[in-house]
Structure formats: C-alpha cells, structure tokens
Symmetry: C2
Subunit: 254 residues, 2 copies
C-alpha cells in the first residue's frame, strides 16, 4: 500500500523506489542494491525520467539482436526481480530466452528469495540454481564468476540489466554479445556493452517486449540491418548530450 | 575492516559507502538513507569527487555566517552520524553551536543509536532528545515538524546537512538562515537554502572547520562582507556548469 499521491511531481520515481524497498524487506535486494537504485534515481532525474529517442533506438537494436540470437539468456539479479519480475518473464517468453539468476553479491538465502518470486510470477525454468551445473567465467574474481553451463556460459547473447563493469567486461571477453540497461551513459558497463539501453529498466522493458513482438516477422537480413545500423558509442554520446541539455533547462527553471 | 585496495580509482567513494553501510548495520541509517547516499554518489561522480572552487566559496560564506550567528544549531541525522560524527562535533565546538538530532524518518530506536554514537564520540549535550521540550515547526506535515524548543526552534542559523526540500522550506519560512550540504545543485534543498555547499559532507566538513578557525578573529563587519558577497543562486549555477564540463570531459575520455 502506497501513500504517495499521484499528483506528486515525482510519483513514478517514488513508486519504483517503494518497490525496491519492499524487495529489500522481502530479502530480494541487497543493501548495495539500494545504493545502486539511488545512483540510478539521480541519473534518471537528469535524463528527465522518460525514455528518450536514443533509448528507443537502443531498444529496437536490442530487440533485433535478441530475435537473431541462437541462445539468448537473461540474467536476473535482486533489483530486477524486485522491480519487474512479470515483465522480465514476459520478455523471456517473447524472445525465447532462458532466465538465469546471477548475483553480484552472492547469497544463497537471497537467491532462494529471488527464485521464489520468479516462480510466484509464473516462471517454469530458472538456471543458475543447480551448483552441480555451474562453471566459471574467466577473467573475473572468484565469487562473481559462477555461471550456469547451460545458461550464460553457453549463450551467444546475454541481457544483463543493472550489471557491473567487471562482469560486463568478462562477458565481452568470453565472446558474448551483451545487452544492458544502465542509466549512467558513462559507466563502464554502458561503455563496454554492445547495446546499452540508457533508460529505467521499469520503463524500457515494456518497450523491449513490444518491439520484439513487432520485429518477430522480420527476416534475418532485416534484423541484421537494424543491428549494424546501431552505433552504441554514438548512442551513449547522445544520452550525455541529453543530460547536459536537461541540466541547462533545469538550471534555468530553478 | 575494509577490503578496498587504495589503488582503486574510486577507493574514497567506496570507503564512504562502507561507512554508511556499517551505519545501516548499526541502526543509525534508514533504508532511505542508503538510497539517498546512492543519489549523492552519482552527483559526486559527476562533480569529479572533489571540492571545487564554488564549494570553497560557499564554505567560506557558511563559516562567516556561523561565526556571526547568535544561536547556531547543527541538525544531525543518521547519515551524518554514520559518515562524520567526530567532525560534526568538532565543528559544533569550533563555532559554539548546539547539536540537535532531527530525523526525516522518525524512529525512536534509530534516534537512540544516533545519540549513542555521538556520545561515544565525545559529545556532552544533544538536543532533540527530550519530548517534553519539543515543539512544532509550522508549514510541514506532522511527523517531520518536531523540533527542540531550545534548539532549531530558537536558532537563527541552522546547519542541515543532507536535508529534504520540504523541511528546508519550512525552516526558511520560520525565518531561519539555512546552511546545507547537498551534492545536487538543482535539488529543492539546494535552491531553497541560504548557503548551499555543493560537496560531499565528508570532504567539506573539514574545510568548514578550518575556515571557521581562520575567520575567528575577523570582526563583525568583515564577516558580513563575506556573507553579502556570496550569491547562492550564482554559486549553484557554477556547480551545474562544472557538472556539464565534467560530462563533456568524461564523454571524450570514455
């Protein structure tokens, strides 16, 4: 139950925050996840708390990339499970991707809470849950390199919403195509991924689902054109410019 | 005990984060305090994680304002108690200000933890602890308006580090001169306060102490000159420009 009035100028942002805090109370989200959400809030505020044109182009490229993938996998962490469990499951069905629970701050209890939430939201199969089936990603320190043999390890395209820089780099080094959601266009994750959606995951995921639906009937060649037309560095620069323009506008208003 | 190597490019920021997380574990910091820290981290990152010239000017004006005050009070919340308890006590001694515990998210247990921390760090008297001595600040909703009759209520100058916009406004409406620390130069708190120090409180507080020491022997007229020469709106605009320049620089490097 929320007490935030709909009229509040930042009601949506506060509702997202409430979801995350409730995810923390339910054992899904780590303390570090609350801090990360705070960082995201600041960048979302600077981006104007809406999906911009650059993000829409990144979403289209991501949809094409996912439809073209042979073995797409979506990595799920605590913040994602708290913010948009239903949507992440719908996305996985739409693009026929596997889901893998993969935590930055490993914690068995938290992992179980995440699995429970995903199951409650209708998921059938979740990878990353059987330690006998786990293996190691090279080039990253021990606790964070564990992945599922049939999931991220075997994947050609990996969606890592709200990921950290080291792991994004390790995934790239392992030859994966990486799609990420990151509100900071300058972060290492943003700069390292193949496709960075600079948007709030709770807004962008709906658009990614509908875009994937829209592109389903496109042929291989058409999808490849969309992917090759997309320039991640250029897209990130556009987002930086967007933030700068918003700063100018807000500073004038204030 | 920290595991963060000194060589890490963002070691200082991570150490500050550790202090706050440990404050959370010790019951000083609210969940919302972790989120607020995250937002601060993002702005600090954009400000280059250092005290800029504009902040130094705001610190000088704040020192003059505090030395000139008749009844200065420093408001202490959970994040401040977790991040810099010793420094806030040293500041209060330097400028002969009272300390008042005043929480955005009221919680008796947390209040007691904060008082315990301040006492452990050598404080003698803390206001805001005796409910028989409390009164209400007008123009703000119930839970957050409680202040101490001999503290904030009677003060002419109030230091509110890491404050929210509504309360800053209520303090201004009650005729107080408000000095704040806020890393977001566009926040309502920043825009509403008389003097906004756009800097990380853990860096700025040391400078505020030394600046107060330096200005101790100045006469009334000289202090007033420093205060009247300071333009908060202009200072905030300079901070916005600083962020924009840093974005340009970082975007080029990335």
């Amino acid at each position: 139950m929320t007490l935030i009035p709909k009229s509040h100028p930042r009601a949506k942002s506060l509702l997202i925050r409430e979801k995350l805090v409730s995810g923390f109370d339910n054992g899904l989200v780590a303390k570090e996840g609350l801090l990360a959400q705070g960082r995201g809030e600041a960048f979302d505020y600077l981006l104007g708390e809406k999906t911009n044109q650059a993000a829409k182009r990144a979403i289209k490229a991501a949809a094409a990339q996912l439809l073209q993938a042979q073995k797409p996998v979506i990595s799920v962490n605590g913040n994602v499970a708290a913010l948009c469990p239903k949507e992440i499951i719908r996305l996985s069905k739409q693009i026929k991707a596997k889901l893998e629970v993969n935590l930055f701050y490993t914690n068995e209890k938290r992992k179980q809470a995440i699995i429970k939430t995903l199951k409650k939201n209708g998921v059938k199969e979740i990878l990353g849950t059987n330690s006998a089936n786990s293996t190691k990603l090279p080039g990253i320190d021990s606790a964070r390199r564990i992945v599922d043999k049939d999931g991220i390890f075997a994947a050609d395209v990996v969606v890592v919403p709200l990921e950290d820089g080291d792991r994004t780099m390790a995934l790239r080094n392992a030859g994966k195509t990486v799609i990420t959601f990151d509100l900071n266009p300058l972060s290492r994750t943003s700069q390292t991924a193949n496709i960075t959606i600079v948007d709030n995951v709770t807004r962008a995921i709906e658009l990614l689902i509908s875009e994937s639906k829209k592109l389903t009937k496109r042929n291989e060649k058409s999808l490849e054109k969309i992917i090759s037309d997309f320039d991640n560095k250029k897209n990130l620069t556009e987002n930086v410019i967007q933030i700068k323009n918003n700063l100018t506008r807000r500073a004038r208003v204030a």
